[in-house]
C-alpha cells in the first residue's frame, strides 16, 4: 500500500501520458487550446474579409426601411417599415404555421394512431399505407406538390370552385367566411373565461369532496357544458354581437371573407400530414407500451371501460408518448423554414432571405436567425420537460 502511495506522490514527466488523471487534464488543455485557436482563426479571417470588402459589423440596418412587401402580415406592415418590423412579421408567420401545424398534426396523428391499432384489418392496413407513403417522401417534395397542385390545377378566382356555401377554392387561395366581431363580443369572451375558471374551481371542489366522502361528480360533462354552453348563452343574450363575412364572387375576383393563401395552405397541409405520420407511430407504440395486464387489473377491480381508458391506460401511455412528441413539434417548427421554397414569408424568408440580400449583412442576419431558432427550440423543450416531469412516474 505504502509503496503505491509513494509512487503516485512522486511526479515524473512520463506520468503525464501514462497516468489516467494527468492524461485527462492534458487532453482537455489540448482540446481547449485547439478550439480556441480554431475560433481565433475564424474570427481573424472574418475581420480581415470584412475589412477587405469594406463592410462593418453592426445591427443598425434593422432600423432602416425594408422596402419590400410581405404577402401575409398579421400585424400592419408596409414596405416603408423597418427591417426589424419585417423580421417580426416573419417571426409571427413562423409562429402561426408552427402552432397551426402542431395542432393539425396532433389531431391527425392521434386519430390515425388509434385507428392503426384497430382490430379491423382493412383500416389497419390503410393507415399503415398512409404512414409509409407520407413519411418516406421528403417533406419538401410534399410542400412543392401541394403548392403546385393549388397553383396550377385550381381555377382562377373568376370561376372558383365552391364545394359549399361561402367557401371558394381558387389558385389565389381558399376563401372562407371571416368572423366579424362587434362591440358587445367581450361578453361572450368573458363568459368563456368564466366557464373555464368555474370548471377549475368545481374540479378542485369535486376532488376534495371525493377524497372526503367518496362521492364522484361528472366533472368532465359538467365542465364541457359550462365551457361551451356559457358563451353560447351569452352570445344570444348579448344580441348576437358577431357575424360571418361571406366571400362573394365579384367580376374579376372574390371580395370579402378571409383568404388562406396558397403558400400557407400548402405548407400547413404538407407539414401537418408529414409530421402526423410520425405522431401516428409514436401514439401506436405508446398505447402498445401499456401492458394489457393493466386493463385487466382495472376490470378486475370493477372500473368501467371508459374510466379504465381515462384513468389507467392514457396516463401511462402519455408518459411514453410525450418525449418523442416534443421532438416532433420541434421538427415541425424547424421544417417550417422550408417555407422559403414556395415564398411563404417566414423568418428565414424575411430576415435570412430578402433582408440579407438587400443589406448584404450575411453574418448579422444569419446570427439572428440562428439565435431565434435556438430560443424557440429551447423554449419548446423547456415547456415539454416541465410537462414531462409533471406526468412522469414518481418512484419511491
Amino acid at each position: 500500500m505504502a509503496a503505491i502511495e509513494q509512487d503516485s506522490d512522486r511526479f515524473s514527466l512520463g506520468q503525464i501520458w501514462s497516468d489516467k488523471r494527468y492524461r485527462a487534464v492534458l487532453t482537455q488543455i489540448l482540446v481547449v487550446a485547439g478550439v480556441f485557436f480554431f475560433i481565433a482563426f475564424l474570427a481573424m479571417n472574418a475581420v480581415a474579409n470584412l475589412e477587405q470588402l469594406g463592410k462593418t459589423f453592426g445591427f443598425g440596418f434593422l432600423w432602416e426601411p425594408a422596402s419590400y412587401d410581405i404577402n401575409q402580415a398579421l400585424i400592419s406592415y408596409t414596405s416603408r417599415d423597418t427591417h426589424f418590423r419585417a423580421a417580426v412579421v416573419g417571426l409571427i408567420n413562423t409562429g402561426l404555421i408552427a402552432v397551426a401545424g402542431c395542432v393539425f398534426a396532433t389531431i391527425l396523428g392521434f386519430t390515425f394512431g388509434v385507428l392503426r391499432l384497430s382490430s379491423n384489418w382493412l383500416i389497419n392496413r390503410m393507415v399503415y399505407c398512409y404512414v409509409e407513403f407520407t413519411r418516406n417522401v421528403p417533406v419538401l417534395v410534399q410542400i412543392l406538390l401541394w403548392h403546385g397542385v393549388i397553383v396550377t390545377t385550381l381555377p382562377h378566382p373568376r370561376d372558383a370552385l365552391s364545394p359549399m356555401e361561402g367557401v371558394y377554392l381558387s389558385n389565389r387561395g381558399f376563401y372562407v367566411p371571416a368572423p366579424v366581431f362587434e362591440s358587445g363580443f367581450w361578453i361572450v369572451v368573458a363568459a368563456f373565461l368564466a366557464g373555464i375558471a368555474g370548471t377549475i374551481l368545481f374540479r378542485r371542489w369535486a376532488k376534495k369532496r371525493q377524497a372526503e366522502t367518496g362521492q364522484i361528480y361528472p366533472v368532465f360533462t359538467i365542465g364541457t357544458a359550462a365551457i361551451l354552453g356559457l358563451p353560447v348563452i351569452a352570445f344570444f343574450l348579448a344580441g348576437m354581437p358577431a357575424s360571418l363575412d361571406q366571400p362573394a364572387l365579384a367580376t374579376f375576383n372574390i371580395r370579402g371573407g378571409m383568404v388562406l393563401k396558397p403558400e400557407f395552405t400548402a405548407l400547413w397541409f404538407a407539414l401537418s400530414v408529414y409530421t402526423s405520420s410520425f405522431i401516428t407511430e409514436i401514439v401506436r407504440s405508446g398505447i402498445q407500451a401499456v401492458s394489457h395486464g393493466q386493463t385487466e387489473a382495472a376490470y378486475a377491480l370493477g372500473v368501467r371501460p371508459n374510466w379504465t381508458m381515462r384513468l389507467i391506460v392514457i396516463p401511462q401511455a402519455l408518459r411514453v408518448i410525450v418525449p418523442p412528441l416534443t421532438s416532433q413539434y420541434l421538427n415541425l417548427t424547424k421544417n417550417s423554414s422550408l417555407a422559403i421554397a414556395i415564398g411563404y414569408m417566414d423568418i428565414v424568408a424575411t430576415l435570412g432571405g430578402i433582408t440579407l440580400n438587400q443589406t448584404g449583412k450575411e453574418m448579422e442576419c444569419m446570427m439572428l436567425v440562428l439565435m431565434i431558432y435556438l430560443i424557440i427550440s429551447l423554449l419548446i423543450s423547456a415547456f415539454m420537460n416541465w410537462y414531462n416531469r409533471r406526468i412522469a412516474l414518481v418512484e419511491r
Binding site: 485527462a24 487532453t27 482537455q28 482540446v31 481547449v32 478550439v35 475564424l42 479571417n45 472574418a46 480581415a48 474579409n49 470584412l50 477587405q52 384497430s118 382490430s119 379491423n120 384489418w121 382493412l122 383500416i123 390503410m126 409509409e132 407513403f133 418516406n136 417522401v137 421528403p138 417533406v139 419538401l140 417534395v141 410534399q142 412543392l144 406538390l145 403548392h147 403546385g148 397542385v149 397553383v151 396550377t152 390545377t153 424547424k334 421544417n335 423554414s337 422550408l338 422559403i340 421554397a341 428565414v348 435570412g352 440579407l356 450575411e362 453574418m363 444569419m366 436567425v369 440562428l370 431558432y373 435556438l374 427550440s377 429551447l378
Partner: protein, 371 residues
C-alpha cells in the same frame, strides 16, 4: 376425406380439418373485418373510401395516362390521365442532372461499384467478407476519381453534378462520414472530462436546435468570410460538410441513447479485465450500444437522405431542381402532379427499402434479450 360411416379403432382416426368457424378465410373475415357492429361499420367505410380513391388513382396513373409524348399539349390530346411523357423525355436529366452526356457511363459504373461495395455491409455471411471490406473502404476514392474525372479521365466540374445522382452522392457521403463523427460526439458527451463533455453538449444542442436550411445558407453565403481571404471552396463540398455535421449531431443523440442502455456492469467488467478506454469501448460497449441504436441510426439516415432535397434552396439542381426546371419549361408547364409524384416515388423506393432493411436487421440482431 375420412369415411365417416366406418368404425375406427380408438386412436386410429385420421385427423380432420379444423371446423370452418375457427380457421379458413371465412373465419379470417369474421374476426378481422366483422367482429363487432363498430367493425362492420368501419369495414364499410374503408371499402367506400377505397372505392373512391383506388380507381381514381389507377385511372390517372396507368389506364388514362400517356407514356410517350413530346409536350403537354400532345399529352392532353392522347389521354386525360397523367402525362408521364415528361418523365420519359427527361429521364436522363432526372437521374444524371447536367453531367456531360458522353460521360454518363461513369455514373453508371460508379453506381454498380457502389452496389458491390454495399454487399459486405448488408450481407453478413458473404464469402471473403474481410477482404471485400477493404474494397468498400477504398470505394470513396474510386467514386471520387470516376465522378469528377481525376487520374487522366476527362475532368467534370462539381457544378455539373445534379439530378438523383447529386442526392445519392450527398446522402451516401453524409451517411458514411456522419456515423464515425456521431459516435465520437456521443462518447464525448458521456466523457468524464468536463471540458470535452461541455463542448460536445454545446455542439450537439446547437446543431439540433437550428434547421438544416439555415446551416446550408451559412454554407452558401457566410462560409467565405471565415476562410483566409482569397480561398475558394467548392459549394458541393461545403454542402457535404454541413450535411455531415448536421446528421452527426442527430446520430450522436441516438448513440448516446444506446450507450445509456448498457448496464454499468459492462463498463466495470471491461475495467476489471484491464482494458483501456478505447479497448473497452471498441470491444465491449460500442458493439452492444450500436446494436440497440440501429433503428434510430437508420431513421436518421432516412431523414438525411430525404433532407438532401433541401439543396435546391441554395441553388444546386438535384432531382427536385430538375423537376422544377421542367415545370418552368413552356412545353411542360402545369404538370405539378406528374413531376412531384415521380420524384416522390423515387424517394419512396429508397427510403422505404432502407426502413424495411432496418426492421429486418433489428429482428435478426434481437438475440437473447427477448422475454
Amino acid at each position: 376425406m375420412a369415411d365417416t360411416t366406418r368404425a375406427y379403432e380408438p386412436g386410429t382416426h385420421p385427423s380432420l380439418p379444423p371446423p370452418m368457424s375457427v380457421s379458413g378465410p371465412i373465419h379470417w373475415v369474421r374476426t378481422n373485418l366483422l367482429s363487432s357492429p363498430l367493425n362492420v361499420a368501419l369495414t364499410a367505410l374503408a371499402l367506400y373510401l377505397l372505392y373512391l380513391i383506388v380507381p381514381g388513382i389507377l385511372n390517372w396513373a396507368v389506364f388514362d395516362a400517356v407514356f410517350y409524348a413530346g409536350s403537354r399539349d400532345e399529352c392532353r390530346e392522347l389521354g386525360s390521365g397523367a402525362c408521364w411523357g415528361l418523365a420519359n423525355v427527361r429521364f436522363g436529366q432526372f437521374l444524371y442532372g447536367f453531367y456531360p452526356d458522353h460521360l454518363r457511363w461513369r455514373i453508371d459504373l460508379t453506381a454498380v461499384l457502389f452496389l458491390l461495395a454495399l454487399v459486405p455491409v448488408l450481407w453478413d455471411k458473404c464469402p471473403y467478407r474481410r477482404y471485400w471490406f477493404i474494397y468498400t473502404a477504398i470505394f470513396p476514392v474510386i467514386a471520387y476519381v470516376l465522378l469528377l474525372g481525376r487520374l487522366g479521365l476527362e475532368p467534370v466540374q462539381t457544378s455539373r453534378l445534379g439530378g438523383f445522382t447529386l442526392n445519392v452522392v450527398i446522402g451516401v457521403t453524409g451517411i458514411a462520414a456522419s456515423l464515425p463523427l456521431g459516435i465520437l460526439l456521443a462518447l464525448g458527451r458521456r466523457s468524464h472530462m468536463p471540458i470535452v463533455r461541455t463542448l460536445s453538449v454545446m455542439f450537439i444542442e446547437f446543431i439540433r436546435g437550428v434547421p438544416l436550411i439555415t446551416l446550408l445558407f451559412i454554407a452558401s453565403t457566410m462560409l467565405n468570410y471565415f476562410l483566409p481571404p482569397g480561398t475558394t471552396f467548392d459549394l458541393v463540398l461545403r454542402v457535404l460538410i454541413m450535411v455531415t455535421i448536421f446528421s452527426a449531431a442527430y446520430i450522436a443523440e441516438v448513440v448516446r441513447g444506446g450507450l445509456q442502455a448498457i448496464p454499468k456492469g459492462q463498463f466495470e467488467a471491461a475495467d476489471a479485465m484491464g482494458l483501456g478506454y478505447w479497448q473497452s469501448m471498441r470491444l465491449i460497449v460500442l458493439p452492444q450500444a450500436l446494436k440497440i441504436s440501429i433503428p434510430g441510426i437508420v431513421n436518421t439516415f432516412v431523414g438525411l437522405f430525404k433532407d438532401t432535397t433541401l439543396v435546391i434552396i441554395i441553388g444546386l439542381t438535384d432531382v427536385l431542381g430538375i423537376g422544377r426546371a421542367a415545370l418552368a419549361d413552356a412545353k411542360w408547364v402545369g404538370l405539378a402532379w406528374e413531376v412531384y409524384v415521380f420524384v416522390a416515388i423515387l424517394f419512396f423506393i429508397c427510403c422505404f427499402s432502407m426502413a424495411r432493411y432496418s426492421i429486418y436487421l433489428e429482428k435478426k440482431l434481437h438475440t437473447g434479450h427477448k422475454r
